[in-house]
């Protein structure tokens, strides 16, 4: 138990260091990008060239610069940023001024989670089951399945998304071409709105599921084949244990590395699949991130990347703890440290 505590203490320290480095990168990298967000905001605030008085423009500009603290040196800005982050204040968006960043992120992350969480879980379960079945049955099923899985796992997300879009939305017209809900609707709780969301949900959802299935199935298949040939399988068979029981041992053990895949997918999910979301114009965090990068919306970029970082770190920590619980070999190693 003491070794355990020391192990996780050490780990936690490293996670904090990583988090700090990530925070710094999140803050500085967007600010090193070319482009002037203030100019964009000013022109927006003043109605796109309606005002041409240079002094008036300058006054508005200065007001914005002061409000966002852009007149301070960068290190100072960073300290202010850190203080605000600790307080849970991510500032206001440049582009959608004066909307608070937390509000923007909160909304788009809901869409992303609602899309990706079920998609990843369904894809993971389907993929692992397929891989396990292919490994167990071998022969025809495996031979037919493998090339398909290989193909699916190597299709790039945007390619599959475009094909799906072209086939089911443009050609067959079964599903809408994009968006999270019909463009003439305002989000509210009603039957019509829910149905609209559900219809818009299908294409991005199945695209994500397919992409997840391929990689997971291939991984599970090779792990299962490896475990099926393990010595303990042969030994258990010779003791008269039923195959159905042995299969349970095998798949449980083969599953262990797959859990890493799941946790990483869940961690990375918050980043949203920018490509898929763009193709389907899905109002998730991927699109929010993309548009804020285009517009130099520093606070939104920093907050989005920070959330992605934190989720990946949490996923990592989660794997580590779960692993210790599931695999006595890892547990022994953790206690030894």
């Amino acid at each position: 138990m003491r070794g355990y505590r020391r192990y996780y203490g050490k780990k936690l320290l490293w996670y904090l260091v990583t988090l700090f480095v990530a925070l710094a990168l999140n803050f500085f990298l967007p600010r090193l990008m070319p482009g002037d967000p203030i100019a964009a905001m000013v022109s927006q605030a003043m109605g796109d060239g309606a005002v041409i008085d240079a002094e008036a423009i300058r006054a508005v500009e200065l007001q914005f610069i002061e409000r966002f603290g852009l007149d301070q040196p960068l290190p100072m800005q960073f300290l202010i940023y850190l203080r605000n982050v600790v307080r849970g204040d991510f500032g206001t968006s440049f582009l959608q001024h004066p909307r608070p960043v937390s509000d923007i992120i909160g909304e788009s992350i809901t869409w992303t989670l609602a899309l990706q969480l079920p998609a990843i879980i369904v894809g993971w379960i389907l993929g692992n089951s397929l891989g396990a079945i292919a490994a167990y049955l071998r022969k025809g099923f495996d031979k037919g399945m493998m090339p398909v899985l290989m193909f699916v796992s190597n299709v790039p997300a945007f390619g599959l998304a475009i094909v799906m879009l072209w086939l089911f939305a443009v050609n067959l017209g079964w599903f809408p071409v994009g968006g999270g809900f019909a463009f003439d609707m305002v989000p509210h709780f009603s039957w019509d709105f829910m149905m609209s969301v559900l219809r818009h949900y299908q294409l991005p959802f199945w695209t994500m599921v397919f992409i997840t299935i391929g990689g997971q199935a291939i991984g599970m298949r090779s792990m299962s084949i490896y475990e099926l040939n393990a010595d303990y399988v042969k030994y258990a068979r010779f003791l008269g244990i039923k195959d159905s029981k042995i299969i349970k041992y095998v798949f449980r053990n083969a599953m262990l590395p797959q859990i890493t895949g799941l946790a990483f997918a869940l961690g990375a999910m918050v980043g949203g699949n920018i490509v898929a979301e763009t193709v389907f114009s899905y109002p998730g965090i991927g699109i929010t991130l993309l548009s804020s990068i285009r517009g130099g919306d520093y606070p939104v970029i920093s907050a989005a990347t920070l959330i992605i970082t934190i989720m990946i770190l949490l996923a990592n920590l989660f794997i580590e703890i779960i692993y210790g619980l599931l695999d006595p070999r890892i547990k022994a190693a953790q206690q030894d440290v």
Binding site: D231, R237, K242, N253
Partner: protein, 350 residues
């Protein structure tokens, strides 16, 4: 002569490779073990020893396939039985197996007691967890294993402890025949001794009635088993009591095998170690005639033709050489004398 517990008649099995080639790893093996006796099987790597162990279980799965022959355990022929019947009624009860690599024989993510439960339940669904635990504790204690082992994972056990645990689990249903495939090969000498002691105890306490012990370590066999068989290229080429086989081997292969042992006793240090040149033949296409002929220094032209059938001599000893026992013994004697005069005998096939 005691009651015969295990009788094997002309057993043939093969491996089928992924290219549909057959490898005849056990090619007509017959043997007999009486109650309370143990039989050692010796041979080089690739001679079919381990395959023999697997084949004797009567439970075949790819790539190993049964061809023909009978396995009779305590009067019951198991070679005609359906696989599921064998699994349920024979494995673990009539015949049990100790694998070559006991290090990895236990599921790494399962506690020992859980596995014991699965083993017992595979044969007897009615036993409660409590009963199984009590039975396991009792058996482990008799065999000198701490009961704490039961609540551990295999990674938490040392190599020797793992091996002894595997032996205890294999024999938990008191099988009639125990087949041990190199149970002590990977262990240090102290652990080896404990494993051997444990196997003797199993026999003395009547938990098992007969034992087959497979190893490449001949001195070990001499200490453990009553009889020794030497296996070469899927066949038994010589059989006798442990003492006969170690001190008076007849077949040139057995002779070579015994000659390649390092004996640490005084006075034997200056005896030259002799290796048998070459490697065992490819069993996809066993050579005609004597299978050892290509490596044998007593080869005569007729060796390579015709099947070598077993020849019985000296009251139940057997060998498969074309030469007579007297001829071979004479040759060995001459060589020994020549060797002691300082001449180094040339080894190698002619």
């Amino acid at each position: 002569m005691g009651k015969v517990i295990l009788e094997v008649k002309d057993l043939k099995t093969k491996y089928v490779t992924r290219f549909k080639e057959s490898v005849y790893a056990v090619d007509g093996v017959s043997l007999q073990i009486e109650e309370g006796k143990s039989l050692g099987v010796a041979g080089e790597s690739g001679c079919g020893k381990s395959t023999l162990a697997l084949s004797l279980m009567g439970y075949y799965f790819a790539p190993l396939h049964y061809i023909s022959g009978d396995i009779i355990i305590d009067g019951k022929n198991i070679s005609g039985m359906k696989p599921d019947e064998v699994r349920k009624n024979v494995l673990g009860r009539e015949v049990a197996y100790i694998p070559q690599a006991a290090m990895n024989a236990l599921n790494p993510t399962q506690k020992v007691i859980k596995f014991v439960e699965d083993v017992v339940r595979a044969h007897d669904k009615s036993m409660s967890k409590k009963d199984i635990y009590d039975m396991a504790v009792q058996r482990f204690e008799v065999l000198g294993l701490p009961k704490e082992v039961l609540s551990k994972y295999s990674v938490e056990l040392s190599g020797g402890m793992k091996q002894r645990t595997v032996i205890a689990i294999s024999t938990i249903k008191s099988p009639k025949v125990l087949i041990a495939d190199e149970p002590s090969s990977a262990l240090d000498v102290t652990s080896q001794k404990m494993v051997i002691k444990m196997m003797r105890e199993l026999m003395e306490k009547g938990y098992i009635k007969a034992m087959i012990f497979i190893t490449h370590e001949l001195p070990l066999l001499y200490n453990v088993t009553d009889d020794i068989m030497v296996m070469y290229a899927g066949q038994i080429i010589e059989r006798g009591t442990a003492h006969e086989m170690v001190f008076d081997p007849v077949h040139p292969y057995s002779k070579g095998l015994m000659g390649s042992i390092i004996v640490p006793e005084a006075g034997t240090r200056d005896v030259k170690l002799e290796a048998i040149p070459g490697t065992p033949p490819n069993l996809k296409k066993p050579p005609p005639g004597c299978r050892f002929a290509a490596r044998c220094k007593y080869k005569i032209p007729t060796c390579e033709h015709g099947e070598r059938s077993p020849r019985i001599f000296d009251n139940n000893r057997m060998h498969r050489c074309i030469h007579s026992v007297e001829y071979l013994q004479e040759r060995y004697k001459n060589e020994r004398e020549a060797g002691s005069k300082g001449k180094v005998s040339e080894t190698g096939a002619e």
